[in-house]
Symmetry: C2
Subunit: 336 residues, 2 copies
């Protein structure tokens, strides 16, 4: 009777025994290494197939020094930004047989340490650090780890690869879109000035306006919070004076949502009287506004995928040049 000795998992010993070869030969046949005759190889493969043999990845990792796992450290509990990144990482890595350990560390240094130690003990091949703010590093030092680290959406050391959306390019696209729609009095309503991304987008907004022909009205940046409420308030403020904007570039989709609602309440038509562009392409918000929101997509899933692939390259020894890698954003045109 053909079959493994017991109900336990079938090992390469079972395969070898039944194919009547040594385990060394079996291993070489199954991995395509070493010199084996065509027919022996086929026979071994057939037996392995029949037995449903699947090599124990743990045992294999022990010798190969590669565990085909990586850790994903994330600081973003709410997950609005992290989730697409995670999905991208996972998607980009599974093709390489690599699985991803998820570690939600919620800004807690002790917890982060615990997760990090667990990852290292489990011999991960590399680590991806991700957060929601580029200017806030993770609460633990990832320097001098025995494995490569790639940063995504969070601050890393200068010599490491850090992947971020190209906020500047995204903001410029947004402004140019408004200009192309014949808008001339374009203001920027965004989050707190303490956020680097807010300042970056604001700078890009100013530059884009300044370099436009014919020259639009002077730039005007309103810093506030990342909330709908602030969108309402900003509209109230903007419409309190005599000069009203005809285009508003919002720092995120929630603000844009507030702006759109406030405008509708005032009887201002979007996009007839004022065009709105958001930022994030948070579909659950952007698709539900009336009209649906034109916005900038940061392509976070793609960013995650790139992070994964970059990490793989580092693991396999390719030395990537460190620094900030900016990935392009896309303009999503909807109705606003």
């Amino acid at each position: 009777m053909i079959g493994p000795t017991s109900s336990e998992r079938v090992t390469i010993y079972d395969v070898a025994r039944i194919a009547e070869v040594s385990v060394a030969t079996a291993s070489k046949a199954l991995n395509g290494t070493g010199r084996i005759s065509e027919q022996t190889r086929d026979r071994i493969k057939r037996v392995a197939q029949q037995l449903g043999f699947r090599p124990n990845a743990l045992a294999r990792s022990l010798t190969s020094k590669r565990s085909f796992t990586v850790g994903l450290l994330t600081d973003d509990t709410y997950g609005r930004f992290t989730l697409p990144v995670m999905a991208g990482v996972s998607e980009g890595l599974i093709d390489h047989g690599v699985s991803v350990f998820l570690c939600a560390v919620e800004g807690n240094p002790d917890l982060t340490r615990i997760h990090l130690d667990a990852l290292l003990d489990k011999q991960v091949d590399g680590i991806i650090a991700t957060g929601k703010r580029l200017d806030k590093p993770l609460p633990v030092d990832l320097h001098n780890l025995p494995v490569p680290v790639v940063y995504a959406l969070t601050a890393g050391p200068a010599d490491a690869v850090t992947l971020v959306p190209d906020d500047r390019q995204g903001a410029i696209q947004a402004v140019q879109h408004l200009i192309a729609r014949q808008r001339r009095r374009i203001v920027h309503v965004t989050g707190p000035e303490t956020f680097e991304v807010a300042r970056e987008r604001a700078r890009a907004y100013v530059d884009a306006l300044r370099s436009a022909e014919p020259a639009p009205a002077e730039p005007c940046v309103l810093y506030g919070t990342w909330s709908e409420r602030w969108g309402h308030e900003a509209v109230a403020r903007l419409w309190s004076g005599p000069d009203h904007p005809d285009g508003i570039f919002c720092g995120n989709d929630q603000i844009a949502r507030g702006v759109i609602d406030a405008l509708r309440e005032r009887g201002v038509r979007v996009p007839a009287d004022v065009s709105i562009v958001g930022f994030d392409n948070w579909e659950i918000v952007a698709e539900q506004t009336r009209p649906p929101l034109t916005t900038i997509d940061m392509n976070l899933k793609e960013l995650g995928r790139q992070a994964g692939l970059t990490l793989i390259r580092s693991i396999t020894g390719e030395r990537a040049p460190g620094g900030l890698w900016k990935l392009p954003c896309s303009l999503i045109v909807r109705g606003s």
Copy 2:
């Protein structure tokens, strides 16, 4: 000079050599097993500490048959429901030294198969399957796996543990809250009737009304979609006739958002004229409505934690009775 032989990772051999004992003794000392004299144990521990020795979890798993990893299979790409569950799972398991493999399978059977095989090859101790709909199973059969499986927010076989929020209890709480606020004409605006949760909540709504004293107006359930737009439409429909409700229980927070906005646009005051209760406690929505939304929280993080702990128990041999475990929801009272 005290130190490991090379720059490689320090192994238990290094510890043993430097402490001048055998590896067997070192292992026993560090794990607190076997019989070792107090001083030898201390010496070994001190050496291990100095060397920064951390045992290789892979090698350890090889003998112990426990990898201290579990797989989390999720079908919910958007992650609104899954993310809190994931966070809870991770949080509940890290205390037990267990790490979580994240597998986003997006309803793709082949991809699911690939992930599942990778998990099994990596010798996970167990698997948590999660989705966003109880009535839609994952696109792969998790029966007869060599490891225990726990289901959360997704359909599992009858003999397995399946954790879900107690929709009935949550809905009843919502209705009772409205009744306690002296509301008598309470309607239920919810998602598609094809969703089991929608029907379940609707049944609970009906039952809660029927058993209330003094008897409120006849139940009225409006099925639609899970969108803001449907909230608007439902209000339009409800206010087209002569009899207007004074309480609305919404199937989710997005619908509630639409309802609240539509009411404000009509000049109906919330909660003076009509009280609203949502479902999900999706904070980003619920806190931004005007007024902030009173809603039902499904305690998904706690659900995730329970899923993790239940899985641990199954792994360690405790046989949990299979079936549907309903975890209580909480009423979150805000301004509506």
